[in-house]
Symmetry: C2
Subunit: 406 residues, 2 copies
């Protein structure tokens, strides 16, 4: 007997037939003798509809009221799934965030879970009742409904799994696992049986949209074994787990890409101490995150070129902020470029093996792909390329690192 | 300064523009210096959609889960209206049933309000904050969400008005008041300025769908002054109030009709003691309500005809139940008739004035309309007619009782 938390996303519960299908999957887990809690998202489209209502009522609105409105989507699904389980003779009841309660901080719209009181839930789970929990929500210190931010149901599931000390947290989604890279682009992409928390965290933050970043951080912190699998296919998925659980370690586990970044180059900035602060201070003040930064070696000792990346959605604002500072910053020219892609190679093995970067540079050079910006961390290596090379670069690197299916 | 509870139904909050319109009406009340609480229904169509989901998941479902699902509609509206008020610089916050809390009994799906804890609400109202309350819902003894049954938001509003000792409870709807009869049928129908609780109760239970019957009962019990008015027209509506508040009393206040009833005649039933119990016992067991009953005088001392009415939606079941009892009841023939209408004349004045019934019989006789069944109470007189005479009868009676506009 194991204790399992199952989580189903919006497309998995997209209509009544799919909710019944989810109920059958939950029943199968119960029939295996397991204690089960289920976390559900809103039916697909519902949250967008509710968010749209809020925007139409008032573009700037009270986050507490936004939370009261949008949290209802998950409450509907949880009630419907509990009904569907009962119709299969599986004892079940729905739980809203405030009923359990799932206590969060007061940051409405992007709250963080602080504690989950699971005594009653665990007592009922032990007696055979499935707990169907509305994801994405909790209750704040002001006794009002909070939400965790988009995709927060993954975090709800992992937090609940940590709180009830679940043996596994199964995240059912519309893909059947975590792949070495995007299989829509690289036909030879391979589904991974296992991946470490650290690698998954890099993949999630680098554009692979399988799991919400925060849910991976939480899984890593509380060592919750998370399985990503399909709610439409009956097959094991990918287990996100501790490094120790993975016997055959690969040098590189996956290749991620993101088209959500844009590049800005400031040409001939005065090369003096404090110039970086002068550039990035105003961007920080404007709440614009800067990701990669490269400063060229100065040729004349007086000027340099500064290149960095921001989210594509922030590009226009960033250009505006910097244009307003032209005189202070004393640069000659600002060159924005939104036609770029960030490609990242990720692997625990990079810590101990040299040559990973060299292989990347060589592989891209052979294909005549110019690297515009590079950045590295302990287990990842990212480059910015012209967007038109995305597919070519991904396929070449996938083969070069030996990730292709045989 | 007065304390006002305003209630807006589904069509009044049917989309974002209408919710903004409601916010402007609430603001006007606040600008007059009043303390205001608002009770809202779900946006029109939303509750039907949620009920439909429940039916599709499982035709027979747990009423507790049904409540968890359908109560979300009003929660959405309350959040959106609070936002719309804030956008007009009116301090406001939304309240779900469980947050106030509105305590109900445990009869999920048709719960009754037992108590409302208004201390915090009143404190905030006194400080100028508008309380936007999700109608139709409360929290049961099991700490789960309950709903009050369809149309329950009227009851929420009246109960809240009673709890906060409001000077008035304004029910905004898609009609501009209570009419002497249905203006779609009788062009000369007149809007009433005032009507007593007792009359309104008869009107509500006899087919006028302006207010939910239970809300009128509650208003009468706690002497809450209820005004019915339009959310689309800026004009006073009809005040439902104590008899003492009405100076010019009419003999007859209104004429209601209902096409929701059907008639059953049992021909040549054995005329012996206990026969009524033998007929109506099985119907009661089958949860079928019998409304009007007429037993003819026996011609031969051995047999009689028994006529009664049931809800049209129960007719087929009633016939089935009675057919199964043919031998016990020993009747000759069962004649069901669903082509009937119940027309009712209502007025406090009937208590003290004779001649109301005589006027009805004479008016209908002049138009050659046959009365099939008659029943009376202290302040109403109902007859069953062939349905085809509905319009003719309503117009003739409306004129006869002097209700026409001049």
């Amino acid at each position: 007997m194991a204790r399992i938390v199952m989580k189903f996303g919006g497309t998995s519960v997209g209509d009544c037939e799919r909710i019944k299908n989810v109920a059958r999957r939950v029943k199968a887990e119960v029939d295996r003798g397991n204690e089960v809690a289920v976390v559900v998202s809103a039916m697909s489209g519902v949250t967008n509809q509710l968010v749209d209502y809020c925007k139409r009522i008032a573009p700037l609105h009270d986050a507490r009221e936004y939370d009261a409105v949008v949290a209802t989507g998950e409450q509907v699904t949880s009630g419907l799934l509990a009904m569907a389980l009962q119709a299969l003779d599986v004892p079940a009841r729905s739980w809203s965030g405030w009923q359990i309660p799932i206590r969060t901080d007061g940051a409405h719209g992007k709250a963080r879970i602080e504690a989950i009181e699971t005594a009653e839930l665990e007592r009922r789970m032990a007696s055979g009742q499935v707990a169907v929990v509305a994801g994405f929500q909790g209750i704040g210190p002001d006794s009002r409904v909070t939400t965790l931010g988009r995709g927060g149901s993954d975090t709800s599931a992992v937090a609940l799994a940590a709180a009830v000390k679940a043996d596994r947290c199964d995240i059912y989604t519309d893909v059947d696992g975590v792949y070495t890279t995007d299989p829509r682009i690289v036909a030879k992409a391979r589904k991974l049986d296992k991946i470490t928390y650290e690698e998954m965290l890099e993949l999630a933050s680098l554009g692979a949209k399988v799991l919400q970043t925060r849910s991976v951080e939480m899984a890593m912190k509380y060592r919750v074994r998370v399985q990503v699998l399909s709610s439409f296919v009956d097959a094991p998925g990918t287990l996100v787990c501790d490094e120790d659980e993975i016997v055959e370690k690969e040098l590189v586990s996956g290749i991620a890409y993101s088209r959500d970044e844009a590049k800005i180059t400031l040409v001939r900035v005065a090369d003096r101490p404090g110039v970086a602060a002068a550039i990035f201070g105003p961007l920080t003040d404007a709440n614009i995150n800067v990701d990669m930064i490269v400063q060229n070696v100065s040729e004349d000792g007086k000027h340099t070129d500064m290149t960095f990346t921001v989210a594509k959605s922030d590009l226009d604002r960033a250009v505006k902020v910097l244009n307003e500072k032209t005189e202070d910053l004393n640069y000659q020219r600002l060159v924005p470029d939104s036609n770029v892609v960030k490609v990242s190679v990720i692997g625990m093995g990079m810590r101990s093996h040299a040559g990973v970067a060299q292989k990347m540079f060589k592989t891209l050079a052979v294909k005549s792909i110019n690297i515009q910006v590079t950045s590295t961390s302990e287990i990842k290596l990212s480059v910015i390329l012209a967007e038109e090379y995305t597919e070519l670069a991904l396929r070449a690197l996938h083969t070069a690192y030996g990730l292709d299916t045989h």
